[in-house]
């Protein structure tokens, strides 16, 4: 038994909305890199949150070194030697690298409770970074670092706590190929030099053979299998990861394809997108599939003029247009519903009506004043049309449910007369009822002659709603699939570069 460092037995967790866990049992051996594979919503992150004390489990047992332990807070996990490097970096951007690394246990000047021993702090940080082979000056302010370096700081911070179990959550999504190779050699060193074990959460199949010793597959909150990497192959892993295809439960309305409304030719964004070309028709829903980091969100931004492109042309109604800023995109009828509604799409503390007119102020202004009466009238019309549940048009958007916020955004773009809708993760964070509402709204947008580009990490929803799918892999279109050809398995293969 001394080979086993961590054992999870029958871990259960129920949520009303998020992915739940049912009877998950997992064994992690000492000094191994154990890959945890699964699609979005399979329960990987939830399981890791249980392990780090961020989420309490409903039932189940956790053993470390054969002893039963309770993990009810992140502090418990830390004491037990469990550290996690998060997917979305959790650094303090305005602090130095060294402060970030030792955020919880900065060396203090002897006899003082609140004077930091800066020299010792930088010294320790420098030593750690050097040992890990990270070329970073510990005095640098974090916001001045690029993504890969920030991630190195994250890793250094996790390792500063001398963990025996290190959890990496999709660490390569923000990294380029060269940086991935570098990261892998760091991880292998951590295992060989420090004797730590690593749980490596990913949905990138190809990485498993590069880094892991064993692999477990999760699906729908259950652990499907665990195997040594040498004893398995991509096909059987894919088969275990994906559930049955359930395209048919999505309310996808067949709509006759109209004329070409949007075309992209040879669009590239430095280091992120390569020669993307496609056509979009009126009434069509075009899906963009691909893993995190495949360039799918960059594409959304580039089409909206929010990301500078190195080459490429965009055509609206077969006319070439210049789109180098969101303003130009809006003028050309392009709308972006961004991934992060509250941060990027809405003014949360302003009223519903003010948000609705935000992309189209000119229509509502006279002599620099906004015509409140007109604004309210239109807002009320759209509140009724889209069934937005609110007592009044002057309600702050932050008070609405996520589903209704999404509708406010759609109203905003409809008021701006958009005809090309780029929906980036349009149902993320929504409850199922609201998701169904968004799907039906997409039908109606398509029916009214708009073209829709739908980006989603939920493969079933893409397959369910789209007429056509582009599968991105490393910033290129790996494959175009028609609705009837597409299956989770096929998309998965092309997305992993097979």
């Amino acid at each position: 038994m001394d080979q086993v460092i961590l054992e999870l037995k029958n871990v259960c967790k129920q949520f009303t909305n998020a992915a739940a866990l049912s009877n998950v049992s997992l064994i992690l051996k000492r000094g191994e890199i154990h890959a945890l594979l699964g699609e979005n919503g399979a329960g990987k992150t939830t399981l890791m949150k249980v392990l780090t004390g961020a989420v309490p489990m409903d039932s189940g047992e956790i053993y470390i070194d054969g002893k039963r332990v309770t993990i009810s807070s992140p502090a418990d996990a830390q004491k037990l030697g469990i550290s996690m490097v998060y997917q979305d970096f959790a650094l303090f951007p305005h602090l130095t690298v060294a402060e970030n690394i030792f955020i919880g246990n900065k060396p203090m000047i002897k006899g003082s409770a609140d004077l930091i021993n800066w020299r010792a702090l930088f010294c320790k940080a420098e030593a750690l970074l050097e040992q890990l082979g990270f070329p970073i000056d510990p005095r640098t302010i974090v916001r001045d670092l690029n993504m890969p370096k920030r991630q190195m700081v994250e890793i250094a911070r996790a390792l500063a706590q001398h963990p025996r179990i290190l959890i990496m959550d999709e660490p390569t999504s923000a990294l380029a190929e060269q940086e991935i190779i570098q990261l892998f050699s760091v991880l292998k060193n951590i295992v060989s030099q420090r004797g730590a074990s690593i749980i490596y959460v990913t949905h990138r199949l190809e990485e498993i053979w590069m880094i892991a010793d064993s692999v477990s597959v999760m699906r729908d909150g259950t652990l499907i299998s665990t195997a040594a990497v040498d004893a398995t192959d991509p096909d059987s892993l894919i088969f275990q990861m994906i559930g049955k295809d359930v395209k048919d439960k999505y309310p996808k309305l067949p709509i006759k394809k109209g004329t070409e409304v949007f075309r992209v030719k040879d669009l590239s964004v430095k280091d992120q997108l390569n020669n993307i070309s496609f056509v979009l028709h009126e009434g069509e829903i075009l899906g963009i599939a691909g893993f995190l980091g495949s360039g799918r969100s960059t594409l959304a931004k580039a089409l909206f003029g929010a990301e500078s492109i190195s080459t490429g042309e965009i055509f609206i109604d077969q006319q070439k247009v210049q789109i180098s800023s969101p303003k130009e995109a809006i003028e050309n009828g392009i709308a972006l519903l961004s991934e992060d509604r509250l941060e990027q799409g809405l003014f949360p503390y302003m009223s519903i009506s003010a948000n609705m007119v935000a992309a189209n102020l000119r229509q509502f202004t006279k002599d620099l004043m906004i015509n409140k009466h007109k604004e309210d009238k239109l807002a009320n019309m759209y509140i009724k049309k889209l069934g937005i549940k609110t007592p009044k048009s002057q309600e702050a958007v932050s008070k609405l449910s996520s589903g209704n916020q999404q509708k406010v955004l759609i109203a905003k773009w409809m008021l701006a007369k958009a005809r090309v809708f780029i929906l980036d993760e349009p149902t993320r964070g929504l409850d199922i009822g609201s998701k169904v509402e968004v799907y039906n709204l997409m039908n109606e947008l398509a029916r009214s002659g708009s073209g829709i580009i739908m980006i989603s990490s939920e493969l079933p929803e893409l397959l369910g709603m789209c007429d056509r799918l582009l599968v991105l892999h490393k910033g290129r279109i790996a494959k175009e699939l028609l609705r009837h050809e597409a299956s989770q398995e096929l998309v998965f293969r092309y997305a992993s570069g097979k």
């Binding site: 359930v246 048919d248 439960k249 999505y250 309310p251 996808k252 309305l253 067949p254 709509i255 049309k385 889209l386 069934g387 409809m414 409850d431 199922i432 009822g433 609201s434 998701k435 169904v436 509402e437 039906n440 709204l441 039908n443 109606e444 947008l445 029916r447 009214s448």
Partner: protein
């Protein structure tokens, strides 16, 4: 476009613009000027407009569209009809049950090609009667005078010999426990017969029918392939149908 439709369209245009010329009308409607003139004559006969040299002007007394029956759900019903029509392809055979929603669907099928419509509702048959591109089949049977729909052994026996791609059935109640229900026992019996002879059952009901149970059950929730209703349907039902893997279509008027 068919004559009846065209006349409606001309009325619409005139109500909006008050006056119009023949040339413009002929290009909007994509028919010859002769046809337009003939249509205008008809409408003049109805007292809707006054013909002028090269066009027509609206008779102001008729400026308000004819008063509709007092139906608060009129718009909702029309929308369901439009959504349903998207699910019908050319060359298919479909079944339309009885009721105002099925009639709304029929109104939106007129542009389909080589469509076969089996219906037990005489209103629907009449609505589609002048569409040469649609084959209409009406079974025999007893007639419910108030709704002009057919029922009884004869109707059911007639239907049992057919098979269609899709059946649109309008119901009075939808609930998790009792599934789809209909008030009238005779109509419910025909509806059950219709559900047996189709590849796919599509249930249509406005949002007020959800959570209600009518007297006669025609099928469980899973007996439907799709459900079409309005956005106002309670969100719990949107979730419920999705979880049960039955697409639920709700309409918006954008």
């Amino acid at each position: 476009m068919f004559a009846a439709q065209r006349l409606e369209k001309i009325k619409e245009i005139l109500l909006e613009k008050k006056q119009i010329d023949v040339v413009t009308l002929s290009s909007i409607l994509d028919v010859s000027e002769v046809t337009v003139r003939r249509d205008l004559e008809k409408l003049e006969g109805q007292g809707f407009l006054t013909k002028t040299h090269g066009g027509a002007i609206l008779k102001e007394s008729d400026a308000n569209p004819p008063q509709q029956e007092d139906d608060p759900l009129k718009e909702e019903r029309e929308q369901i009809g439009i959504i349903a029509s998207h699910m019908v392809d050319d060359n298919e055979a479909i079944l339309l049950g009885s009721g105002s929603l099925c009639l709304e669907i029929a109104k939106n099928l007129k542009d389909k090609n080589n469509l076969t419509v089996v219906t037990i509702d005489l209103n629907i048959a009449i609505e589609l009667a002048d569409c040469v591109n649609i084959n209409i089949i009406i079974p025999g049977g007893y007639l419910i005078g108030s709704s002009l729909s057919l029922y009884g052994d004869l109707t059911e026996k007639f239907l049992s010999d057919m098979f269609v791609n899709k059946a649109f059935i309008e119901v009075d109640g939808i609930s998790e426990d009792r599934g789809y229900t209909i008030n009238n026992a005779q109509q419910a019996s025909v509806a059950k017969a219709m559900m047996k002879i189709t590849k796919e059952v599509i249930i249509v009901a406005d949002y007020t029918k959800f959570g209600k149970i009518a007297f006669n059950q025609i099928g469980l929730i899973h007996n439907a392939g799709k459900v079409i209703t309005n956005d106002k349907v309670p969100i719990e039902f949107k979730k419920y149908f999705f979880d049960e893997e039955i697409p639920i279509f709700t309409t918006y008027q954008l």
